[in-house]
Point group: C2
Chain length 263, copies 2
DNA sequence: CGCGCGTTTGAACGGGCTCAAACCTTGTGG
DNA sequence: CCACAAGGTTTGAGCCCGTTCAAACGCGCG
């Protein structure tokens, strides 16, 4: 469905001679350059350069090497649900990062290119939460999970925890993002209520009766609709007997009916 | 959605007395409870509990304490551009995180509640990239920047770099997110082209002539519009002499005109 | 009280979606 | 080399949903 093949080698051959405007092309080296077989490595310096990271290089780190990974156009670089095995930095090529819900609805999160980072959403549950496929032949640099987390457990414990939590937030934000526009406004409001319901439940409060702390306008700005649309969506759900609304107070009468609306 | 947040012991103690459905209210303690003046602290254990982090507690960390911060309803917890001074974990209350572009367009990113993390987008440029205001009286726990980054610089260098880069990716994704739906489809396509142009330029390629590596469908799924709408937007821009399109190849004829379209 | 703000509802407009068809490119196999 | 199939791209026509503009009501607050 999504997979597709761009002209890779053929296109490369024709455009490489001219001053290139195609950033994903040419992992080729100038004639005469050393060819390192299948095993190719990148230094920490190259990582710094790619990421444009201004941090200092400390002694003993200059010679750290990271394995590269080739991904051909159309192939998956990361798959949702796959166990986390590290972060990747794009060295060459263009990819497409997307998430899809159960109904086949797709949202394209980003098009990672040189210097972008992949796989951050895999830290939270130790498995990746989005699909990433190569649109062109790609060259990735892997930062192994072991390198990230193994050293200095006791020392960077706090930092690791913070970033683990960040990964979770990001993941959830992406899921929310997926819903925007993918579905009619009434469905998005329904989904929003279900999300709030779940969050209240997780905090130990009633999932069926709660008071929204935000205005209709805030909800609208969150779901990318106008205030009036939010209000009308509430009214429609009330009229169908699915919820009861008294200003900020929400009563969910039929959790199931609400679920059916979110698609 | 994804798993999170069981009621923590501390919070249970305060809210258990009444069966409350209002999680943001009442930081009040039962009469007779000890009142700790202005200084209130949370332990690392409480952080673990709030975040639902399953990591082990190491010796010497049990007694680490983190300062809490009260934010009254309506007040700003974090402001865009403010220097980064740490991450915050919500202990109590509900907030609203949003970004706004120059034209006054607003997008609400999330409604952080108990256990959620604030301020991650501040790591990249060492200043926060979103506004966060309290919708209700809030209680935050601060994880100071010094605690996060100071210790073991040499050891967790790699991890820090990875997360710094993550923060950048998140920030940019949020900016892109802000554009969705905020503007007409033609403007969003214009903005998309400008973004691609900028990215190609950053990589050292021509900002005015490039070949899109993705399909119209991918672009549509990224901007939350249909294939046809993307195609029509391209055609409209061509007809106005702003760009030239030959399938995947894009020529930007008037960068300025494209900028005017993005709003 | 009067003012501002949040909420709700109505009416009309218009932009994007849906459905449909045609054209082009690319890849495959005869 | 050509025919064919599959999928990407473009354009048109009609419809529907969400926006826009407008008005009314309730609530909190100075």
């Amino acid at each position: 469905m999504h997979a597709q093949i761009l002209a890779s080698t053929a296109t490369l051959a024709t455009t490489e001679s001219t001053e290139s405007t195609l950033p994903w092309q040419s992992t080729r080296r100038p004639a005469g350059a050393k060819f390192e077989s299948d095993e190719r490595w990148s230094s920490l310096q190259e990582l710094h350069s790619l990421l444009q990271y201004e941090g200092h290089l400390h002694d003993g780190h200059e010679c750290e090497l990271f394995r590269r990974r080739r991904v051909k156009a159309g192939q998956a670089a990361l798959m949702m649900g796959q166990p986390f095995d590290g972060l990747y930095v794009v060295r060459l090529g263009t990819l497409r990062s997307s998430i899809s819900n159960a109904d086949g609805g797709v949202h394209v999160l980003s098009f990672p290119m040189k210097g972008n980072l992949l796989g951050f959403d895999g830290i939270y549950k130790y498995s990746y939460m989005s699909d990433v496929v190569a649109l062109t032949d790609c060259d990735l640099i892997r930062i192994p999970a072991s390198d990230l987390f193994a050293a200095g457990r006791g020392i960077n414990h706090l930092e690791h925890m913070a970033y683990w939590a960040s990964s979770r937030e990001i993941t959830q934000e992406q899921s929310a993002y997926c819903l925007t526009r993918s579905v009619k406004s009434e469905g998005r409001v329904a989904r929003f209520l279900l999300t709030m319901s779940q969050r209240f439940a997780d905090m130990g409060y009633s999932p069926n009766r709660f008071i929204l702390p935000m205005t209709r306008r805030d909800i609208g700005h969150h779901l990318s609709v106008t205030v009036e649309t939010v209000s009308r969506a509430f009214s429609a759900l009330v009229q169908q007997g699915i919820i009861h609304v008294d200003f900020r107070e929400i009563n969910i009468l039929s959790h199931e009916a609400l679920c059916n609306f979110e698609r």
